[in-house]
Symmetry: D2
Subunit: 138 residues, 4 copies
């Protein structure tokens, strides 16, 4: 591991100030990273469900941080592909937890997937697969 939970949190606050308040890193380790979305009014859609873009953001940031935990700060890594299955309505009034794992960490591409759960629920709200392009000069 190249970056700890504290270092990743500091990075998030510094470089992603606008959204850093939405997220909290729960755990980080060789097996992956768990990221919390602190669900607030601005993440909701009619009917009380968490919006698709908010779930997308949770998955996207979770994989990004998982990559950084392994290779260190690479602020120019960019998402090239994301595929998301939305499966269940989130539980009202609960945060969402994104459980990210890296499946490939190559020189130029990293691939991971994320299962998103309402906190305390057994069945996932969503599943996402993401690919990041990693800049060559690192």
């Amino acid at each position: 591991m190249r970056m700890t939970k504290a270092e990743l949190t500091a990075f998030l606050e510094r470089d992603f100030g606008q959204v850093a308040g939405d997220f909290a890193i729960e755990r980080v380790g060789p097996e992956g990273l768990v990221l919390r979305l602190r669900v607030a009014e601005r993440h909701l859609r009619p009917g009380g469900t968490v919006s698709g873009p908010a779930i997308f953001a949770l998955a996207d940031v979770a994989i990004y941080l998982a990559i950084l935990s392994r290779i260190g700060e690479v602020p120019l890594a960019v998402t090239t592909n994301a595929s998301v299955d939305f499966m269940r309505k989130p539980t009202a009034g609960r945060d969402l937890l994104g459980e990210a794992r890296l499946l490939k960490l190559g020189r130029s591409l990293a691939v991971g997937d994320v299962l998103v759960f309402s906190e305390g629920a057994a069945e996932p709200v969503a599943r996402a697969g993401l690919t990041y392009a990693i800049p060559p000069a690192r």
Copy 2:
């Protein structure tokens, strides 16, 4: 067509009040719908690029409105799958336009895709394919 541009705009403002200010419907017709994302500070990521979730939201809302333009108000239609290719960095200081077309409008599933451009640019920023589940009782 079941809903006009004016009706869709009114629906967006009433039911999606939180994000309605982000979007403007440019055109709607049998061939599809063009939706503008009024890019603002809150949509940006480090480096001045528009965030992935903001691009996702543009594609998601564009297809949703394209479906409604054809079948009328179905507020409970939900996204079940979205696959996005992020291809180019958006042009700084420009709005994004999402050109949505419906490829299938079945009884229970609707499928469409969206090309996203920086306004005035010839080459797309992103491409998205989305599936919506349509509730049975309509």
Copy 3:
């Protein structure tokens, strides 16, 4: 579980005669299903790699059988979406194993994902997410 390994194997041979010889069910249980692709010359591409369509077929059939193991024979279930990340070249001369898990088994849609490994390898060759539409009258 509604169908055993033996019943699923019989179903595969009867209804998918053309491809049944390509596959062998390794394990089936509440947590998912493992399907083997018996890699043969016809699955290979230049350079000795297993073709994308063969990997796709492995993932597709694995999820299909996992669904049947839970709801019984539903021969008209159809794939509506598949998203595949190809991550590594398969090991030459080895079979592929697809480890499928169901993430959602609803009345009309089932969603699962599959990790594909070369037999004996620790890191996945591919990852796939698939959605099946299940016919209403079951």
Copy 4:
């Protein structure tokens, strides 16, 4: 354009001998490429539908050839991601046509999408988005 229809056909026959008989290049030009799948018994599934893997192969080969038409022979380009929406049952007894367009042709990644039609039908059978990694030394 770096390769003509005749050159692409010769490449397909030489390097993809096993599947070359399945396909015929209909058209190739700056706007894209149209590839025919000569549907035969081996491509069918129960109920007479064309199998998902056969549709996947059509989309995959169509984009590959579209890339080659623009950059010349790059036999080691590999698919890194494919996302397919299966929307309608193909018309029985008809070939499939895949209409591929390139949306991005970068130094290391190429992205395209494909609409698949039964010959003579107005509405698409499937839609696919594909990403290819292009080897650095070209």
